[in-house]
Symmetry: C2
Subunit: 484 residues, 2 copies
């Protein structure tokens, strides 16, 4: 494990004070230009030196004909160049004193023998100068905390706490928008490409030491350094959860991964063994990977597998009970104390079970504050899972019928939903147990967004909520075992 | 099987020419009023007679003190009344000549002994008059084709082709908004509640004969008439697919279902047997249930399990290959003819495999028309799965940098995405094979919405696409077996 993040070769790559950019121009349709524009629009504050053989300036920045002409030695070189120019450019960067690079360009090992030869040349050139680099055949690096985003897609969300190392560039850039409705974002995301010099293990080490990173996500087609992976992950896991999505375990995934990045995969069993030894939580899809990150990075440690479900609707409650049970969690057996405290909220004849079905109650302070508090205070309840719909949604039409204006309706609905949500957000802040919402469908509803911003994750199905809670429980069981 | 849908007791319930409504008032906060307002706002065109002991009019409709005062005998009575008034009201309806009803009111069998006694009384009263009814303890019926929606939630989508029978009212009303981004809607949805008189088997029969219904969805906590279910489903399945989500198979699901609707569930094995005998496709979640409906109702019959994946990005392609393989489908082994036809679109050294990775191509006519056409024409390719991102999204920033106005950018983006999508939509219309898109995250992107409207489903993950294709393949294998 690193003593300081500054020891990592990735530190100057993710946090450069200045950079040289090869491959941007004033032609808007090239990949290099698009990446340059993404970087510019996020407002990267360091010095930027476009290098271009002919242009005098590039996108408003003074351009240089050769890297040798730069007024200083930048921390980082970013290359979006034709394959055949990369090794030579790397050599010039070395001569200038640059020691870190990102090679976006593809056309290397992943396309065949001639590409493999060029990749070898690139490696040797870099080694000669002691240059550490990410890529080739990658989509770059995004560190929103440093306002650095030289990828082809704009980063419009907030900086976040997920550190991603991905053997696919798409799972960096396509996740920018994906994470936003969940209130999530990247601390830093590395697209590692062919891992010619820097690999996923280096990324793990970096994230282990990165203060912005609360949880580490990995997209893996094949691990090149198995032993180093296990050793590094084992050291990090007690302090920081690691989740991984591995696709090389099926025959089709294996072949597709190989032709993508030349990664050597292995059967599921082998990788399950690697993950078990390293304490890494395996996800079954990209969806799960980030769901797990949400739970692992955003929720308190549950004391066990007991879950209480609160619902105001039978079907969604039964569905969640089924999902919890199938995920290997337990429906908490509510204590007598809890049942007695809940009694006044129910009709005299109703039986009080888990799921706690509040069909009878129309009082939002009961639903969003008093009852969840009673449940969270039950020592057998380790996690509270609560069904959410937008109560406000149902009220719109009656308010319209009452003749309220659109503004009045919006204001009344906002007040109503915030009043409800604040109850849960307060519980989330004051009681140290996981509190998780679920609903069906999208998260765009204002109530869900308000809760998410307040720190209560809302999953779009009970199955996704159950799987995420299970991942959280599994992680803390691992940590307990390691520490005991 | 019914000779005509008009033989079904559910016909006048879902298609009433006139109705009496018990329980709406001018108090906006009651459930009855909210349901009345939903119905009014969808524009139900039949005669509506609110019955209220004191009000002279209800929400703009002339009110009647007693059902006996109505100027005609309506087709249907809808009751949102206190439990103790229901049986007596049913009796009065019988005396008036009404023969069909929906009983929304709860407080019956599901709450205990006294409730069970009242439910028995209700059943006997109805039987005395020959009244057929849905409920009690349900949320009503929605038939958007008839503009009928007496549920508490507004129906704002289009009428659709999914017939839903649900033992939970939430999975009727919460799905109104859920289905919209998928371009889906209900033909009719029945919330069956305690199934005191009309049950899920009656709904199956109705949907079997309903011309608006292309696929039948069931949410099941327990089947009361197992043999009738199997016999009815078996007759329908060769002509119309049926998908079911059953939650009673886990211990927790079983208990929760029982306290919800008093349904008697059974172990997973028993229900798997019932579904297998009836040719019903089992879904693992509400999400899957409607994903399956999308594929089953919206796609051509695939000739087999072979899938071709087209991508412009390695990771998503490899992820889809893995998902297809794990779902029990096969990556089609492309024919030599296909490979030869694809050759001109690739660099000379590139190998052509499935997934077909078009990283190299920037030409949208190749990507969205020529290449998918070649793949669809390969006899080994039974389904084409294509990775989609919004290409337009990447172009916004360059267009901004070029100084285009917001309107120009919107117009250019719209044109670009429609030009691309039209290629696929044309293939969907002219080639009789399933064509399915996948992406990561939401479906709100204009490109995805345009494709969906054009008949190309876009799933928010490759795993969901793979599971839906698998359901489609399984259904057509069942039909083939039955017919052979």
């Amino acid at each position: 494990m690193l003593d300081s993040i500054k020891e990592s070769p990735l530190f100057p790559i993710a946090n450069p004070r200045s950079l040289a950019f090869f491959g941007a121009s004033n032609n808007y349709t090239t990949m290099g230009t698009m990446q340059f524009l993404s970087m510019k629009s996020l407002g990267y504050p360091g010095a930027v030196y476009p290098v271009h053989p002919r242009e005098k300036d590039v996108q408003g920045y003074k351009a240089y004909q050769s890297v040798m002409d730069l007024p200083e030695t930048p921390d980082l070189a970013i290359m979006v160049l034709p394959t055949r120019l990369v090794a030579q450019t790397m050599d010039e960067c070395g001569r200038k004193g640059i020691r870190h690079a990102i090679v976006i360009s593809g056309g290397f090992k992943e396309v065949g023998e001639e590409g493999a030869r060029m990749e070898e040349e690139l490696k040797q050139t870099a080694a000669r100068w002691g240059i550490r680099f990410v890529g080739p055949n990658c989509i770059g690096v995004a560190n929103p905390h440093h306002k650095l985003n030289p990828t082809p897609f704009p980063y419009e969300g907030r900086p976040g706490y997920i550190g991603l190392a991905s053997q696919s560039g798409s799972f960096v850039t396509q996740m920018f928008d994906y994470l936003r409705p969940m209130g999530l974002g990247f601390s830093t995301a590395f697209s590692v490409g062919n891992e010619s010099n820097i690999d996923i293990v280096d990324c793990l080490e970096y994230f282990g030491a990165c203060e912005h990173t609360r949880v580490i996500a990995l997209y893996i087609e094949g691990i090149r350094r198995g032993r180093a992976f296990i050793e590094t992950a084992r050291k990090i896991v007690p302090n920081k959860p690691v989740a991984a999505f591995y696709i090389g375990g099926s025959e089709a995934g294996k072949r597709a991964g190989f032709s993508h990045t030349g990664a050597l995969s292995g059967p599921d069993d082998l990788y399950n063994g690697i993950f078990r030894q390293s304490g890494v939580i395996r996800a079954g899809s990209i969806t799960e990977l980030f769901d797990f990150c949400w739970a692992l990075g955003g929720l308190s440690a549950p004391g066990g597998r007991g879950v209480a479900i609160q619902t105001h609707s039978g079907g969604p409650g039964a569905n969640a009970a089924d999902a919890i049970s199938r995920a290997g969690l337990e429906l908490a057996n509510l204590s007598e104390t809890t049942k007695n405290e809940l009694r006044p909220f129910f009709p005299p004849t109703a039986s009080i079970n888990n799921p706690v079905d509040m069909t009878f109650s129309r009082n939002s302070s009961d639903l969003f504050s008093k009852i969840p508090r009673i449940l969270l205070n039950d020592p057998r309840v380790h996690t509270l899972l609560i069904y959410l719909i937008s109560q406000g949604r149902m009220m719109v039409r009656p308010m319209q019928a009452m003749g309220l204006s659109a503004e009045q309706i919006a204001e009344q609905s906002r007040k109503a939903l915030e009043g409800q949500a604040d109850g849960l957000i307060d519980l989330r802040r004051t009681i140290d147990k996981p509190l998780v919402g679920y609903t069906y469908g999208g998260l765009s509803d204002p109530m869900h967004q308000y809760l998410i911003t307040g720190g209560v994750p809302v999953f779009p199905s009970p199955e996704r909520a159950a799987a995420a809670i299970k991942a959280l429980v599994a992680y803390h069981e691992i940590v307990k075992k390691i520490k005991s």
